[in-house]
Symmetry: C2
Subunit: 253 residues, 2 copies
Amino acid sequence: MGKILTMPFDGSKESATATTAPQDVSREDAATFDVLRKMREDILCCALKPDQRLRFGELRQRYGTSVGTLREALSHLVSEGLARTEAGRGFQVAPISLNDFLDLSELRVYLETRTLADAIRHGTDAWEAEIVSSYFLLSKLGKPSPDDPVSLKREWGKRHKRFHDSLVATCTSPWSLHFRSELFDQARRYHWLTMIHARSRRKNEHLELRDAVLARDVALACGLIEKHIRGTVEQAASEVPGLTLEMTKRKKA
Amino acid sequence: MGKILTMPFDGSKESATATTAPQDVSREDAATFDVLRKMREDILCCALKPDQRLRFGELRQRYGTSVGTLREALSHLVSEGLARTEAGRGFQVAPISLNDFLDLSELRVYLETRTLADAIRHGTDAWEAEIVSSYFLLSKLGKPSPDDPVSLKREWGKRHKRFHDSLVATCTSPWSLHFRSELFDQARRYHWLTMIHARSRRKNEHLELRDAVLARDVALACGLIEKHIRGTVEQAASEVPGLTLEMTKRKKA
DNA sequence: AGTCCCGAAAGTTTCGAAAATCCGTTTACA
DNA sequence: TGTAAACGGATTTTCGAAACTTTCGGGACT
């Protein structure tokens, strides 16, 4: 029972391990998990562009790890739909298209409303507190313009995700939450493109959403999030250049 | 994503030493993919039992492959929800519980009806032909009793999956199909338990379903599949011993 | 010119061993 | 006698290299 696992004391009070990332409080899976997270973030933020070929040589240098570890991370990304692999031809970043965005957004409407409704019904004080907190952090930044630096966009993306996650945190259906999370990540790729290109501003839908959720108004909150998702799609469709209905023209020079 | 291809694979043959398979037309990923498929099937059929620890030593012997390959396959299974992994404690088969079955079945009702309705609306002649064909193969076997040999149960499971896949094959939403497929595989674990333990017989719901789909009756077909899924849950809940609401009692012998 | 074949180069896949980690047991000490 | 550190065996995790596959380009033949 006793989970006191006392480390064999090494003398140094502050473990000054300079070699690897020192931010390990509860290291998940160490190297593999770390590489996976970084890589996912890079795909979501289009640092690794859609359809880009992922060669092991470059990746090994970029993330400073071995082939085996990379392979495991890539394998994960494939089953999340963020990468593709074919026969003996290695891996590549999953393509994007308006069709794909439309498809996944339709499913998102269902899963977000389903999880949100359930979360509201099972909401607790701690849940409300986290919503308030994460909204505060989100609003403090304000949606970045295309001209803002990448680091700001990344930070906003993180806070945006945290806010939406907090809304559905008390949902009682693990499977619904799981798929919602995967689809949300998928949508983030398109959100990133919108952030880069779109100049139009939408009104603060997050505030409305927060208040509706805190008021426990299921119908209103679900309606708002549906409008939120659909609005994002329309904005991307009209303002992101090159996001046509079919981006699958495999032009070979 | 794209592993919804329902090719008529013969698989499951012990071709360990059969060096050159006859002109592999569809060789997917050779070793890794092969191990992954075998392992998934073993988990679905409870040859690897829920909560069972998956040690590399045993697995290496069972599947005749290396640690790295196993790791990649296990990694896949984790993101499909068929296995778990924790810190530095290796992998284990995902647990099962009635709660889990109820949760995933509720989501299945939505995804199956959604994909089925869309598939019917976009049905083609080839789609109908495959439905007729796969139903024929399914009905030829008849649902196995608990006393039937494992090989028969496995074959029935394959044909059952192929039939249900054929129904939704023309659905136009890749994401819906993807999640439907994952949930269907999850449900197969519980179907297997039911096949092993349940002795009650249900009427031939597959025939009704087939005819409703071929008649392009969306409402009827969706109603039938909903009843089909819910009926399976009830049968499992009442006839599978040990499938209680909480199976998470961590009894250590 | 066009087509086919063959060899070299680039890249991917698989493997087993070395390093790191965990768990149960023993041992030291109050 | 009880607590906690140290030890040893077992297991996991990571890595780089060997084996294999695909791609590309030159040269001979139609």
